[in-house]
Structure formats: C-alpha cells, structure tokens
C-alpha cells in the first residue's frame, strides 16, 4: 500500500514564524499536492507538483510556497505564519493523470 507520511500530526506556531510542513511518499509517485481543509469549505488546493523541482499554484497559494528537491518529498512553507492559516493541512500524491489521490494523515496547524 502507498504510504504518505506527514512529519507532524499537531503543530503550534506563533504569528510571524516560518513554518515547514514535510510530506514523504514511498511509491515513486510523480504528482504531489498540498491541500488545506476547513469546516464547510472542503479541501482547497494550495500547490501541486508534477515532477522534481516543478511546482504549480493551486487555488489558494497566497502566503505559501513549496519545495520539491526529491521525488518522494514535497514541503509546504509558510513564510510568515498568520492566524488565518490555522487549519488542517493534507498532503496527497498520485501516480498519473486520472489516478486516485492517496492522502497523508494531516497536520493540524494552530497559529497563535
């Protein structure tokens, strides 16, 4: 089975801090994604990557950046955390175009 691992389950940070969320997948998937999940809003795409060093903006990229230096790892960076970035962050990966998404367990980030 595909495993998508997110480095932290819970994270508490202060406003203005730089925050790194790490995600690793073990099935050699080309495509990786970062979503945030908020009640009543579903899952919204922040950034995605279809290859090493490639990245594309999703629907809500403002305040975030990403890094994909290796195929298995996709990092989400909050350059200067703000309280409105308090959310559940979900990493996902998939192999090809019409394939299904495999999600990590999520990181619940609280920005105080």
């Amino acid at each position: 089975d595909v495993k998508v691992t997110q480095s932290s389950r819970y994270l508490v940070k202060r406003t203005g801090e730089k925050v790194f969320l790490e995600c690793v997948q073990d099935m050699d998937h080309e495509n990786m994604f970062w979503y945030r999940q908020d009640p009543g809003l579903g899952l919204r795409l922040i950034y995605f990557s279809y290859d090493v060093k490639m990245k594309e903006k999703g629907d809500i990229p403002e305040g975030y950046s990403v890094s994909r230096e290796k195929k298995e790892r996709f990092s989400l960076i909050l350059e200067s955390a703000s309280t409105n970035q308090t959310s559940m962050y979900l990493c996902a990966s998939k192999r090809g175009f019409n394939e299904k998404l495999f999600f990590g367990s999520g990181t619940q980030l609280s920005v105080l």
Binding site: G42, L43, G58, K100, L101, G104
Partner: protein
C-alpha cells in the same frame, strides 16, 4: 470560478435508513471521484466515474454520474454505524490536469 456544490452539509440518520449526498458542478466534468473521511482520519478514495450516465455499486453504496456530466450522487442503502464520516466528491474539469475541485463534503452521523 469553477465550483462543485455538495448537499446536504450534514445529515443524521437512524441505523438502517438510507442516505444520499449530491454534487453539482457549474461546468462539465471529465470525471468525478468520491472519497470518505472517517472522524479523525484522512480522505480515502472510494470510486471514480468517467462515463455519462455511469452507475457503479460497491455493496450498499451506489454512485451515479449524470447524463450531462455535471452532477453526481452517492446513495447508501440501509446505513450502518461504520458508514459514519464525511463524504467528498471531487470533480475534474476538462482543462484541469491536476486540479480536482472538491465539494465541501457531507458529514453523515448514524444513530444506532
């Protein structure tokens, strides 16, 4: 922008009753996927529908894709407590290579 509306937002049923969640898109979809998220868990892929008018079944779950490929539904017959969770639809538009547009989800509660 492109949206996928999902209703209802929340439903609670008695065990044994049926349950249906509906998704409607503002644009024609190339395919639609359904995911289930158990409480405290992460979304897990259930099924993908591709063809106009397609109907697929998984035990007590019936998935439909509309003739115009703009709507979809998930129907659960005789709910069980194990069906508890949030059900998300996710539609892919014809131009959206990696962009699945998620509905806000329907949270199902089942009372024994």
């Amino acid at each position: 922008g492109q949206q996928v509306m999902q209703i209802p937002q929340y439903q609670h049923v008695q065990e044994g009753e049926d349950f249906t969640t509906y998704c409607n898109s503002s644009t024609t979809l190339s395919n639609i996927q359904w995911y289930k998220q158990r409480p405290g868990g992460h979304p897990v892929f259930l099924i993908q529908l591709v063809k106009s008018g397609e109907v697929k079944k998984q035990k007590r779950l019936t998935f439909q894709f509309g003739e115009a490929k703009k709507n979809s539904s998930l129907h659960i017959t005789a709910t069980q407590t194990t069906d508890v969770g949030t059900y998300f639809c996710a539609g892919r538009t014809s131009g959206g290579y990696n962009k699945l547009i998620f509905g806000a989800g329907t949270r199902l509660a089942v009372h024994p």
